[in-house]
């Protein structure tokens, strides 16, 4: 591989831990062509300087954690490993069961960052902090040394993020969508409403959805993927999580990240201005205004309708078929 310099490392919140400014999205590892491709992607990413690895208990019914674990085998010490727990308002005891499953699938004895997945419903903060809720599991797991840091993720509503922060729970990290559309969608802008609060509190900021999840703005010709990724990485964040399921996409991402220097404020403003005509109704951020990107696990926990056409729903249903294969697809 040609040398462009290395991916910059950034400080994780108030800690002394350094992580790469580009992070690997776990869902995409789980939907790689096959297991060998997934393992190879992880190896190449590690070699390219990506040290931050995202994953989640519910991605691909466990396949994403399984394949990531195989990719990290023997190289665990090079990675800052994150996974998420999918209680969606349910009990802390369920969270601990999910943690044990995650540890087994990821073939490790500890998670560097364990986060509450997909906080988005208005009552999620109350359900999280209630007696017996998932907050207790985070504390317990940290105390037992099974996780080093804890946080939460969500893509829905900045107000819900703020309500989570206002529970007073000591979060080490918070994850949220950051891209030029988010930056100008005033009603639901994480960049405007949540990012400044995290900076003040010294909480690590993890950006996600730099190209809006499914690259719709790229497909519609509003931005290039590189422009969007540069925008997200230039914000005052610890890392920007982006997904790659094939080697070409990974290499494009590495090209942007290796030797990365942030855009100037005027360049950032130009990208925001370019996004503004499409930002105000949320058309490129379906994760904020619709149920797209909300997994059946979350919908069922909140008694919301599930979408039978959604791939995650099909996987969930296929789970009961006992085909002999470890993960339904």
């Amino acid at each position: 591989m040609e040398t462009r310099g290395s991916i910059p490392l950034r400080r994780f919140g108030k800690t002394d831990v350094q992580i790469s400014a580009l992070g690997s999205g776990g869902h995409h590892i789980g939907v790689a062509k096959d297991e060998n491709t997934a393992v190879e992607l992880v190896h190449t990413a590690l070699d390219g300087g990506i040290t931050f690895y995202d994953c989640c208990w519910e991605y691909c019914r466990g396949r994403a954690e399984d394949w990531l674990g195989k990719g990290l085998k023997g190289r665990r010490d090079k990675a800052f490993l994150m996974t998420k727990v999918c209680t969606h308002g349910r009990d802390g005891t369920l969270a601990i069961q999910m943690l044990e499953q995650s540890l087994r699938r990821l073939q490790t004895d500890h998670i560097d960052l364990w986060q509450i997945h997909g906080v988005g419903f208005a009552n999620d903060p109350d359900l999280f902090i209630r007696p017996g809720g998932a907050a207790e599991a985070l504390i317990k797991a940290k105390k037992e040394g099974k996780v080093r840091f804890v946080g939460f993720t969500g893509h829905k509503d900045p107000e819900v993020h703020l309500a989570m922060l206002n529970t007073g729970f000591p979060f080490d990290a918070v994850q949220m969508p950051l891209n030029p559309f988010d930056g100008t969608f005033h009603q639901f802008s994480f960049e405007q409403k949540v990012l400044p609060v995290l900076k003040v509190r010294g909480i690590a900021v993890l950006g996600m959805k730099p190209i809006c999840g499914r690259a719709d703005p790229v497909k519609r010709g509003v931005f290039t993927a590189q422009e969007m990724l540069r925008y997200a990485m230039s914000l005052p964040v610890t890392t920007t999580i982006t997904g790659f399921s094939d080697m070409d996409t990974l290499k494009q991402n590495l090209e942007v990240a290796q030797g990365f220097t942030p855009l100037s404020e005027s360049e950032m403003q130009a990208l925001r201005d370019q996004a503004r005509p499409y930002a105000a109704d949320g058309r490129f951020e379906p994760y904020k205004v619709s149920l797209q990107f909300d997994n059946p696990e979350a919908r069922m926990a909140h008694d919301f309708p599930i979408d039978l056409q959604q791939i995650e729903t099909k996987e969930l249903v296929a789970e009961t078929q006992n085909t002999g294969w470890p993960f339904p697809s």
Binding site: A122, G282, P286
Partner: protein, 393 residues
């Protein structure tokens, strides 16, 4: 019995519990009856027969039959299908500052347009008028125009008894589009004016900005009023109170506004708490919608009975009328029964229902606020969103 996340039983008073079970059973029976009527041939034939007769009879069909309560409704035979409801008159209230008196229950246009046949629509409209329901909602986009056409036919020669309401579906487009839509609506509704013309579905966060632009839809509202094609103007929406407030704060004089009102609303992105007081203070007429969550989600899941749902909305101070979707005579009958027995709920009953609603404050029974489920393909297309088949909710 449903359980909440903590695993404890949902807290309902014994009265509410009994009522829940009884009314739910009644509602489900009604649904079953409606379902059957669509497949049993003789019922369908009986309803369709007058229409074909009328075509054969030609001009004679217009001869009025004075003894009947609705003499000039085309094809009306003097009975509303097989059902009967005792005669009573719906209570009325002042419709904001318009000087009109409106029945506290109104007919939703979307569901009316979705009834099985024109004959059923005729029966429903006649029966509604006979019971004093005088509010008929519609929108340019319902059923591709058929919703307005059906209502126009059913209201023929009864137009003066009705407060006729329709919506204009510009979704950010300009005055010229709106004026063309108004002419379409008047033609379909077979009238020279509508009583209330509303900007339909103000549900995208930049819709207020687009409505207020130069040559925007609000200028059409003003012009139409000046031309006498509409008497009063307003807007509708179901998404976020902030969008409604944005529309109001920018200063245009609206006579009416339509918004979701139900026991779930007060604890989640509440229109009742944040928009209703502003509208009342401005002397506007407030039309409540989504009393049963939009498609009866809260009713079929057992969270509310139809009686509780309608009674709540009709009891909220400041609401002029509660627009309810009815797509069959049976559903109309159910609503009429509720209306006949209706007594405004006491404050403590209202509080109990709001408390009951609070436990669902993740929005599960208000999908129109958090998802795209209630956004029409027309509006989505104008805002560059995927269609309802590509993105169901």
């Amino acid at each position: 019995m449903k359980k909440n996340f903590a695993g404890s039983e949902i807290n309902m008073t014994p009265d509410l519990k009994t009522q829940t079970e009884l009314s739910r059973r009644r509602f489900l029976q009604t649904v079953a009856v409606t379902g059957i009527s669509s497949v049993v041939p003789n019922v369908a034939l009986a309803l369709e027969a007058p229409e074909s007769q009328a075509q054969e009879m030609g001009p004679k069909a217009n001869v009025p039959v004075r003894a009947l309560p609705n003499p000039i409704i085309p094809n009306f035979q003097g009975a509303y299908g097989n059902s009967s409801t005792p005669s009573f008159q719906a209570p009325k209230r002042p419709m904001g500052s318009t000087g009109l008196q409106v029945s506290i229950l109104g007919m939703g246009g979307y569901h009316l347009g979705a009834a099985l046949s024109q004959a059923i629509v005729n029966d429903m409209v006649a029966k509604a008028l006979d019971h004093g329901l005088n509010f008929f909602d519609n929108a340019w986009e319902y059923q591709g125009g058929a919703g307005e056409e059906r209502l126009g036919i059913a209201l023929k020669a009864k137009r003066h008894q009705a407060i006729l309401v329709t919506g204009v579906s510009t979704y950010g487009r300009k005055k010229d589009v709106a004026m063309r839509m108004l002419d379409d609506s008047l033609t379909r509704l077979q009238t020279d004016h509508v009583d209330v013309w509303q900007v339909h579905d103000v549900i995208y966060y930049n819709d207020p900005e687009l409505a207020y632009q130069v040559d925007g839809v609000l200028e059409a509202l003003t012009t139409a009023k000046q031309q006498g094609k509409v008497r009063f103007v307003g807007f509708t929406g179901h998404k976020n109170p902030s969008i409604h407030l944005d529309m109001l704060d920018r200063g245009f004089h609206f006579d009416t506004v339509q918004m979701p009102i139900n026991p779930f609303d007060p604890s989640f992105r509440s229109f009742e708490r944040s928009v209703l007081p502003v509208a009342v203070q401005k002397g506007m007429a407030v039309f409540s919608i989504k009393s049963m969550s939009g498609s009866g989600e809260s009713v079929v899941r057992g969270a509310l009975t139809p009686t509780e749902a309608l009674s709540y909305a009709m009891s909220v101070p400041g609401v002029s009328t509660t627009v309810s979707g009815m797509n069959s005579v049976e559903v109309l009958d159910q609503n009429l029964e509720i209306l006949r027995d209706f007594k405004p709920l006491a404050e403590e009953q209202m509080t109990a229902l709001r408390e009951h609603g609070r436990q669902f404050n993740d929005g599960r029974y208000e999908l129109y606020k958090t998802t795209v489920k209630y956004e029409s393909d027309l509006g989505r297309a104008q805002h560059g969103f995927p269609s309802s088949t590509e993105l169901p909710a």
